[in-house]
């Protein structure tokens, strides 16, 4: 086998805990009977693994990012310029719809703080992780025998 061959661009081991757990937390064969799971603490570490959901904060951050795009004249890449002007026409009469209606007030504060221009998108990739929360966060009892 050539598995020991290393190339400069390939990491031999997963580095982040989420990537480690991705391989063994809810993978691998499961044995019943006398054999049990001795897990504790790990789930706390994985709680953060994928709490990443789109929120008002997300949308405002995106809008702000668009707002910050410079005005160098170049090809209109996608539909967004038209989309923005469409929105400006609607301007003040525009209402948030559906699920967003209740959060608009709180969002105003967020929006103004975002306009202050903090660069929180820079840290986004670091928060990404690959474990699925519904699985990783439920296995938190010490010795449950979950495969019946």
């Amino acid at each position: 086998m050539t598995v020991s061959t290393q190339s400069v661009n390939r990491a031999p081991r997963p580095s982040g805990l989420a990537d480690v757990l991705d391989l063994v937390l809810d993978k691998g064969i499961v044995i019943d009977a006398y054999v049990r799971l001795a897990l504790v603490g790990i789930e706390i570490l994985t709680l953060d693994a994928r709490v990443v959901i789109a929120s008002v904060d997300t949308y405002l951050r995106f809008a702000e990012a668009v707002n910050r795009l410079d005005l160098q004249p170049h090809e209109q890449v996608a539909g967004l310029p038209g989309l923005v002007s469409d929105m400006q026409e609607k301007g003040a009469r525009s209402k948030t719809r559906g699920a967003l209606a209740g959060v608009t007030e709180g969002a105003k504060e967020m929006a103004s703080s975002l306009r202050g221009g903090d660069d929180d998108e820079d840290k986004q990739p670091a928060r990404r992780a690959s474990t699925r929360p519904s699985r990783t966060t439920t296995r938190r009892t010490r010795s449950q025998n979950e495969e019946s």
């Binding site: 086998m1 050539t2 598995v3 061959t5 390939r10 081991r13 990537d19 991705d22 391989l23 063994v24 937390l25 809810d26 691998g28 064969i29 499961v30 044995i31 009977a33 006398y34 054999v35 799971l37 001795a38 897990l39 504790v40 603490g41 790990i42 570490l45 990443v52 959901i53 997300t58 949308y59 405002l60 995106f62 809008a63 990012a65 668009v66 707002n67 910050r68 795009l69 410079d70 160098q72 170049h74 090809e75 209109q76 890449v77 967004l80 310029p81 989309l83 923005v84 002007s85 929105m87 525009s94 209402k95 948030t96 608009t104 105003k108 998108e121 990739p125 990404r128 690959s130 699925r132």
Partner: protein, 253 residues
């Protein structure tokens, strides 16, 4: 107690690395018939910590050089060697042998792709008529952000499909490792099962992808034990998993 890392063939060379627990102790093989369990001794009250999860994975990776390895779920312990033989090796011998055969000569590789959010937004949005710093009212900003989110998700999904399409022909099977559907999700989290002999070819393909997408951050990890491609009759139902982007292989577990 015995901590169980995985199952290998009885003649598999032993692991060189130390195992779980504090202090870490030697890892050894407990053979029974054609198979052996990879175990180490732990205290009666042993509980897995972060370090142990890493050790578990590192031991499996270490073993991979000597032949196929079936990973056992993190935190699996048995009272003694006899229990390991009776409950693991003998009880499921045929299934384990089938798994071992299926994984022989194959390894798992992970390809993770992230983008720079600001660059990605610029790519999907182009230059807008807004002047920098000009304020939208909140409702309009939310609506704009939602539309950007849709474009961003589509953009990332397109990239993901392009990248998987370049790698899939080299792989035996492939599978998503994470549900990717929202605007806060990354571009790609994918597992590939390949013939170990194709590793160099896969490396070159990844190098090519890096060159083709210089703005993307591509993490490439392996060879790993084939955790996402173990076919096991006892596997739990995955009906509750929703994938927006299916691999050609079935989910491992």
């Amino acid at each position: 107690m015995r901590y169980v890392y995985g199952v290998v063939r009885a003649e598999h060379p032993p692991a060189q690395l130390k195992g779980v627990g504090r202090p870490p102790v030697d890892v050894r093989l407990v053979p029974s018939g054609p198979l052996a369990a990879v175990v180490s001794d732990v205290d009666e009250d042993f509980l897995v910590e972060e370090n142990d999860a890493r050790s578990h994975v590192h031991v499996l990776i270490d073993l991979l050089g000597g032949g196929p390895v079936i990973p056992v779920r993190l935190g699996t312990v048995a009272p003694d060697d006899e229990a390991v033989c009776a409950e693991v090796l003998d009880a499921a011998r045929d299934d384990l042998l089938g798994c071992i055969e299926a994984l022989d000569g194959k390894v798992e590789l992970h390809v993770d792709v992230d983008d720079n959010e600001a660059e990605a937004i610029a790519a999907v949005a182009g230059a807008g008529p807004l002047r920098p710093g000009e304020a939208l009212d909140v409702a309009s900003a939310l609506e704009l952000g939602q539309r950007v989110a849709v474009l961003l998700v589509e953009h990332r999904q397109r990239l993901a499909e392009e990248i998987v399409a370049k790698l899939r022909p080299i792989a035996v099977r492939d599978a998503p490792r994470s549900v990717i559907e929202g605007p806060e999700d990354p571009v790609l989290r994918w597992a590939f099962l390949i013939d170990a002999d194709d590793l160099v070819t896969f490396d070159e393909a990844v190098i090519g992808i890096r060159a083709a997408y210089p703005s993307l951050v591509i993490r490439y990890v392996g060879p790993l034990p084939a955790a996402h491609f173990v076919d096991w009759r006892g596997r739990p139902e995955r009906g509750d998993e929703v994938d927006t982007f299916q691999g050609n292989g079935s989910w491992g577990w």
